[in-house]
């Protein structure tokens, strides 16, 4: 394959770098890279790898574009609201660089399809937003001996490294052998994230990807970059392979993919339903509306933080953030015999609050499934979604 006139023009700034030159650019054009997630990290990754002329980009994401994505997911635009992220990204890359073949996988990556999808690519980039998928990506890459370029963000902090067990490097399990208990580490949807942060971390991942494909520079294998945007500091930590790692250690016990939801302690949908039915009763947002309209006697408790309450609230709700509920539970003493209906943003924190109050002898606690987000969607669209 020879570069066309257009390609020579397009990639000229690469071609005049001796470290890349024509050979390197041809190598990029024949490379295959899989992006897991087309969100905050996946957006800059797809844009820059597409612009650089990576020949085949695979995009895995089951989600659709939401207005709240646009603060950081720079590959998507207003005209794609409600449409699949992978299609939005594919259209943008097609406009940017026709040399790039985009393969879309509009599905969640699972233990069933992961090996089949990953097999087709040279490098895998982890830009997902949850622990089960991170462990799944890690294990699948190690089993297939493919480099896994890892990046992760939360509020003002980011992490990046390269896991490459085929070259003797550590894996994600060497860094964090066990996932945190479910709900203990909030997601970006619950905890927030500085919009530029995925740009910085995603482009560290993109840089590592290009270097690995070209075989230049020294990679992040065995080094974890910990980034603090508030202090504007990059800290580098040496990361070693754990000889006792069940995946990449001296006597591995993991030889195939497992159930990662279960590994991360997330109940299966049917178990979840059963648990919630037996433990904490739940109502939907429209059911809450009906109770309010009927002027039933109950306390509506909002367990989000003050700054969230300032953004949007359900009329009549009393604020008592989950973060202080243990110290301030005394304030609810007068309501002990009453029904207490609890909501948060999406239903997770309110469930924790229900369980806590139940353990303190509040017998009639009810959780609002989907929280104020469901209220905006199903009852009152004038209440802002954030």
């Amino acid at each position: 394959m020879e570069l066309s006139r257009e390609q020579i023009e397009r990639y000229s700034r690469h071609l005049i770098l001796p470290e890349i030159a024509v050979e390197g650019q041809k190598r990029l054009l024949s490379s295959r890279v899989l992006l897991i997630g087309t969100g905050g990290l996946g957006s800059p990754l797809a844009l820059y790898l597409g612009a650089a002329g990576v020949g085949k980009l695979g995009l895995v994401d089951f989600d659709v574009v939401d207005r709240s994505n646009l603060q950081r997911q720079v590959i998507h635009g207003l005209s794609w609201l409600g449409k699949p992220k992978v299609e939005s990204a594919k259209a943008r890359i097609a406009d940017l660089n026709p040399d790039v073949q985009v393969e879309v996988h509009r599905e969640a990556i699972t233990s069933k399809n992961a090996l089949e999808i990953l097999r087709e690519y040279d490098v895998v980039i982890d830009g997902t937003d949850n622990f089960p998928t991170r462990y799944l990506t890690n294990d699948a890459c190690a089993l297939l001996k493919k480099p896994n370029i890892y990046g992760s963000i939360f509020r003002f902090d980011g992490q990046a490294t390269v896991f490459d067990t085929a070259r003797g490097g550590p894996c994600y399990r060497c860094l964090y052998p066990e996932p945190p208990p479910p709900g203990m580490v909030p997601s970006c949807a619950e905890g927030g994230v500085l919009g530029i942060l995925p740009g910085i971390i995603g482009l560290i991942q993109a840089t590592e990807c290009i270097k690995i494909l070209l075989g230049i520079g020294s990679s992040l294998v065995g080094r974890l970059i910990q980034y603090d945007s508030l202090a504007m500091k990059f800290r580098e930590l040496k990361l070693r392979r754990d000889p006792n790692c069940p995946l990449c250690g001296d006597n591995p016990t993991i030889h195939e993919l497992i159930d990662y939801e279960q590994f991360c302690g997330i109940p299966k949908p049917d178990e979840k339903k059963e648990e919630q039915q037996t433990m904490i009763p739940q109502i939907t947002a429209p059911e809450l509306k009906a109770k309010l309209d009927a002027k039933e006697d109950f306390l509506l408790l909002d367990v989000r933080e003050q700054h969230e309450y300032d953004i949007a609230r359900i009329p009549g709700a009393t604020l008592l953030p989950l973060s202080v509920i243990q110290q301030r539970v005394g304030e609810l003493e007068d309501h002990k015999g009453r029904e207490i209906v609890i909501h948060c943003k999406m239903g997770g924190r309110s469930m924790q609050a229900c369980q806590f109050l139940q353990s303190q002898g509040f017998s009639k606690v009810v959780n609002v499934a989907g929280g104020i987000t469901a209220w905006s969607d199903q009852v009152d669209p004038s209440v802002a979604k954030y």
């Binding site: 997630g37 937003d129 992760s152 963000i153 980011g158 066990e178 945190p180 580490v185 997601s187 930590l237």
Partner: protein, 81 residues
């Protein structure tokens, strides 16, 4: 015997501590003792086995020995993307 250490917090711990970095005089002999001391004061939600500790830019065992002037960083997992 007490020692002065520099402590840095990432992710959820930054929020729970209310700052990113501080100096601290402590009687804690190991990162584990130090974490337990801080967790007791600030109500950290994560157990030590759910996070990693680095001292002077190297990951360390929880029961290693702390020295005067050490830079201790607590690094919880983050999953956002």
């Amino acid at each position: 015997m007490t020692r002065n250490v520099r402590v840095q917090y990432f992710g959820i711990l930054r929020e729970q501590r209310g700052c990113g970095e501080e100096s601290r005089e402590t009687g804690a002999a190991s990162p584990l003792d130090l974490y337990r001391e801080l967790a007791g004061e600030h109500g950290f939600s994560l157990d030590p086995e759910n996070l990693r500790v680095a001292v002077n830019d190297e990951f360390r065992d929880w029961d290693s020995i702390l020295a005067e002037g050490d830079k201790v960083v607590f690094i919880p997992p983050v999953a956002g993307g």
